[in-house]
Amino acid sequence: MHIPDGMIAPQAFIVAGLIAVPFWVHAVRRVARDLDERLIPRMAVLTALAFVLSTVMVPLPGGTSAHLTGVGLLVLAFGLWPAFLAFSLVLALQAALLGAGGITALPVNALAMGLVGGAVVSGAHRLAGRKKSFWSVLVPVWLGVVVAAVLLALVLGLQPWLASDAAGQPLFFPFGPRVTLPVIVLPHLAIGVAEGMLSWFVVSALEARRMPA
């Protein structure tokens, strides 16, 4: 789902970076307070987990598949702030180790998918009474995926308005929200269902083995 380098204007990624920094600082403090000296090993293993989760394919009907984002599962299993930190670290590692995603787009991706998407999953799951039933896992994860997709579509859709040359030609991504919203959000309505179902499968399997998730 995430935006690659070269598609968003410096005005967007610099502002996103300025917004993201206090959240990263807050997340580090919260996680450090809860984990104390266990912070480094715990965050390292969580980050590795988030990285490998992104390599798991979510099967879709018709023989196709999509990559798992894993944010919903991480939030359900470990809470919002550790999940947000781990997901942000994964985006940085993917950019620096694999050349995937983008380093300039990292704050936008981390905020939309890790923070807002994660907060939606956490809030909706709390509203559902933190139950492990099918609907109280599927709906929060689906909402998290869809809200993150809407946000990313809006950020991309804002680019022609944020940056264009004297002739009116866009400097970065060229299409507005009327194009980006349906193109990005519609497939994620299905991907969100698949990710929500997979999350429920996992939560049920862990519950059956009596592991808290």
């Binding site: 380098d5 000296e37 090993p41 715990r42 980050t47 023989g63 950019a95 030609q169 862990l206």
Partner: protein, 189 residues
């Protein structure tokens, strides 16, 4: 030092390229980058360029073609935008591949011990967890004479993820105890 400089140079270059909008300048920067890579890496530079091109082709061709069709039907010019977008994204992808090939991330962050430890453990755990998931996938392939059904693929993906989640708990605790036993936390106190 070399790795830290490379990382810093890449970060500065990636941000700076976002402020260059003239296709001629972007083409000159791309030629400069390719020329430097040819001098420093030899013929490998061409395979890196091919990989970068393959990595960006799908998104760039889709966006460029859609924009060209829209501009053509609206009677507007599209060449400057298409050149600008493709040159910039290709240049950024090429620089990212060049970085991943040449940088040792652990050495690049060795000035900050906490981050270095984090990176070292993350890289090791990615390998360990990645190998475990790869074995799960190979096991599914080996016991499926025909293409597995959607239900079976779902169950396999769920099993991969739940095993990874279970292992995470144990590994974090084992790592913590190992680091404590070796005095890591005492050194930092």
């Amino acid at each position: 030092m070399k790795d830290r400089t490379l990382l810093a140079l890449w970060l500065v270059a990636v941000v700076a390229i976002g402020f260059v909008h003239d296709p001629a300048w972007l083409a000159a920067l791309l030629a400069l980058a390719l020329g430097l890579m040819l001098v420093l890496q030899g013929g490998v530079a061409w395979s890196m360029a091919a990989r970068a091109l393959a990595a960006v082709a799908l998104v760039n061709v889709t966006v460029s073609a859609a924009y060209a069709i829209w501009a053509w039907t609206a009677g507007e010019s599209w060449t400057t935008f298409v050149l600008r977008l493709n040159l910039r994204v290709f240049l950024l992808a090429l620089l990212a591949l060049w970085l991943t090939r040449n940088i040792d991330l652990v050495r690049a962050v060795d000035r900050w011990p906490s981050i270095r430890f984090l990176v070292v453990i993350v890289l090791g755990q990615i390998r360990a967890l990645g190998r475990m998931l790869a074995e799960h996938r190979m096991a599914l392939v080996s016991r499926s004479p025909t293409r597995p059904s959607l239900k079976v693929r779902f169950a396999s993906a769920a099993s991969q993820v739940s095993v990874a989640l279970e292992k995470t708990e144990g590994r974090a605790e084992a790592l913590n105890q190992g680091m404590r036993a070796r005095g890591f936390f005492d050194d930092r106190a």
